[in-house]
């Protein structure tokens, strides 16, 4: 009975919709013949077109051009490189101790930066995520503020705050007796990298706290309630409820942290320029120095650095993936 009724009603409904739009049944038929699939493909292509244009021209092309340039000796003057040198840039690079120094420093930066930043911001986010916490908005605001300031300004402010003559940090530490004499935080070969890393952690911590907070909000409340019933304290809850439930988010945020820190350039440029004695020189500053920082730019050589570095990172990434995969199975 019901089925019969709907059979009768459906064409009526269709007709009324069509009438409302001033269409005839044949139009509907035509639309079907004109195959919505084909029309849909056209729309999909149209929606992608502007993005693909920007992508091909401003993202993909510069990367391909870099690979091409890496086979030439070229100072960037003139429209196009012409002195083909084959793999010589790469051979020179493998023998260049400055490159390996910058490579090592970049790896140190990426590893230490993430080892400090990710757990620290996760713990802060965990503390802030408590809905019963008072003033949590105020705390958030304070912790988010640094990420709004630009790296150039952070460079200026931090250079002053850390300076060994009358820098506020030295003054305060001397006053409370932690230090016996002022420390040249950015001028010390052994300290400069660590200080740059800490400043970078401070600068971007807000962004990561936000990522973690977003992830923490996806954990069902029931899990926490169950933990409370079991009498778990907040540290236990964090270790045995939050961390396991957050695993997918942890993987994404860690990847994001690694990718972003591999690009390190601005903060080093603004604070130390790669010094003292190349102790904070990273791949970004190494490339910049070779391409823009000398009277005779080595564009081909810089491009080779970019390509080789990119390649090494991919190899490292695959290896790490394999090791992690094996760890999971074993």
């Amino acid at each position: 009975m019901n089925a019969g009724r709907s059979d009768v009603q459906e064409p009526n409904l269709q007709k009324s919709v069509l009438n409302k739009r001033g269409l005839k049944k044949s139009d509907l038929h035509k639309a079907a013949v004109f195959n919505p699939e084909g029309q849909r493909s056209m729309w999909i292509a149209l929606f992608l077109l502007p993005t693909m244009l920007v992508f091909l021209m401003f993202i993909l092309w510069p990367i391909i051009a870099s690979i091409y340039y890496s086979f030439f000796q070229w100072n960037g003057i003139g429209e196009w490189p012409s002195y083909y040198v084959g793999l010589r840039n790469y051979q020179d690079l493998i023998g260049d101790s400055h490159f390996w120094n910058a490579f090592k420093n970049t790896v140190v930066f990426v590893v230490l930066n993430n080892l400090i930043k990710l757990p620290l911001t996760l713990i802060i986010a965990y503390m802030l995520n408590n809905p019963r916490l008072r003033f949590s908005n105020l705390y958030r605001t304070g912790l988010f503020l640094p990420m709004v300031s630009s790296t150039a300004i952070i460079g200026i402010v931090m250079t002053f705050i850390l300076n060994p003559w009358n820098g506020p940090l030295n003054k305060m530490l001397l006053e409370i007796g932690v230090l016996g004499r002022p420390v040249d935080w950015l001028g010390n070969i052994n300290l400069a990298m660590l200080v740059v890393i800490l400043v970078e952690v401070w600068h971007y911590s807000g962004q990561y706290i936000i990522y973690w907070l977003a992830g923490l909000q996806t954990i069902p409340k029931e899990l926490y309630e169950a933990a409370e019933v079991d009498g778990a304290n907040s540290v236990q809850t964090f270790l045995f409820v939050t961390i396991p439930a957050l695993k997918p988010v942890i993987i994404i945020v860690t990847l994001l942290g690694i990718v972003m820190s591999l690009r390190v350039f601005d903060i080093v440029m603004a604070m130390t320029g790669g010094g003292p004695a190349f102790s904070t020189d990273v791949i970004g500053t190494f490339i910049y120095r070779n391409a823009f920082g000398t009277a005779s730019p080595r564009i081909g050589y810089s491009s080779a650095v970019a390509v080789l570095f990119g390649g090494l990172i991919m190899v490292l990434g695959t290896l790490q993936g394999k090791i992690v995969g094996r760890g999971n199975h074993g």
């Binding site: 051009a65 870099s66 340039y69 503390m127 705390y139 304070g142 150039a152 977003a214």
Partner: protein
């Protein structure tokens, strides 16, 4: 389980107290450099050296701002930065939402390749491709004009915006489109009137992230405005200013405050929306 004994209560109170203590200490360390900068902008240079750690300028004076404002072109930089930020945001929202929608909701040949290319290229450090980017702009006549650095900067953060939109659109239930189909919407109308408004949290997030980003942008506006200083944005203007005033720390602090305090105010006003947007992005 509810044994609210006195000892329990005391322990809880202490726990909460230490939690607040930790957070307060963190906040003080976190905002000290910024408060220091703003306070230094009201100090004289002599005070900056003698009372470098203190946060209360005495006497408080506005001379640094006058010097920073009159001797540099901050009013022009300001206007340039606003135009730059608005164009970048408009472009990224348009490109990110259209391609994110299509990539998030439809299957079509070549989709996998596009995704691999998008994600693969985000790993490449941007400093390494600035030279070909510069040449391309030169070839297209886009150097030293607003369109050039807007497009170049857009390409820097576009992929992340697209990924945010994809993540969101994957999670939107299918029925939303079906309801549009019944209403007789075509593909564009369906997107414009149903799917785009749904993505408000992502649009908000992308807008705030890129406004902040454009405000801070440095390398691209620098390289693209070498011969047209009057197109510079605040990030670049600040850098030029440091070069000219290398010993006038108080004026530098004032200039730094001019360039970032407006952004902080914007951020504080829209903070709530921003966090909700990001949370939505991860959930979606």
């Amino acid at each position: 389980m509810a044994k609210a004994t006195g000892g329990d209560y005391l322990r809880r109170l202490m726990q909460r107290g230490s939690l607040h203590a930790v957070l307060i200490l963190l906040c003080i360390i976190w905002i000290y450099p910024i408060v220091w900068m703003v306070s230094a902008s009201f100090k004289t240079n002599a005070q900056m050296w003698n009372n470098s750690a203190g946060l209360i300028p005495d006497p408080l004076q506005l001379d640094n701002y006058v010097r920073a404002w009159t001797t540099s072109n901050f009013s022009i930089y300001f206007l340039n930065t606003v135009i730059f930020a608005v164009s970048v945001v408009a472009l990224i929202v348009f490109l990110g939402s259209t391609s994110g929608y299509v990539l998030g909701r439809f299957k079509f040949p070549g989709k996998r390749l596009i995704m691999v290319l998008f994600i693969g290229t985000t790993v490449v450090p941007r400093a390494t491709t600035i030279i070909p980017l510069f040449q391309l702009a030169d070839m297209l006549g886009l150097l030293n004009n607003r369109i050039g650095y807007t497009l170049a900067y857009t390409s820097k953060t576009l992929i992340i915006a697209i990924l945010l939109f994809i993540g969101f659109y994957i999670g939107v239930p299918r029925e939303m489109e079906d309801s549009g189909a019944i209403d007789g919407c075509n593909f564009w109308q369906q997107f414009r009137h149903i799917m785009l408004p749904l993505a408000k949290p992502i649009i908000g997030t992308v807008t705030i992230l890129n406004t902040i980003g454009a405000w801070k942008a440095f390398m691209i506006p620098l390289v693209f405005t070498f011969s047209r200083p009057n197109l510079r944005t605040l990030g670049v203007g600040m850098y030029a200013f440091v070069g000219e005033f290398s010993s006038d720390w108080a004026a530098m602090a004032a200039a730094a405050s001019i360039s970032i305090v407006p952004m902080m105010v914007v951020f504080l006003l829209f903070q709530r929306y921003f966090i909700e947007g990001l949370a939505g992005a991860v959930k979606g």
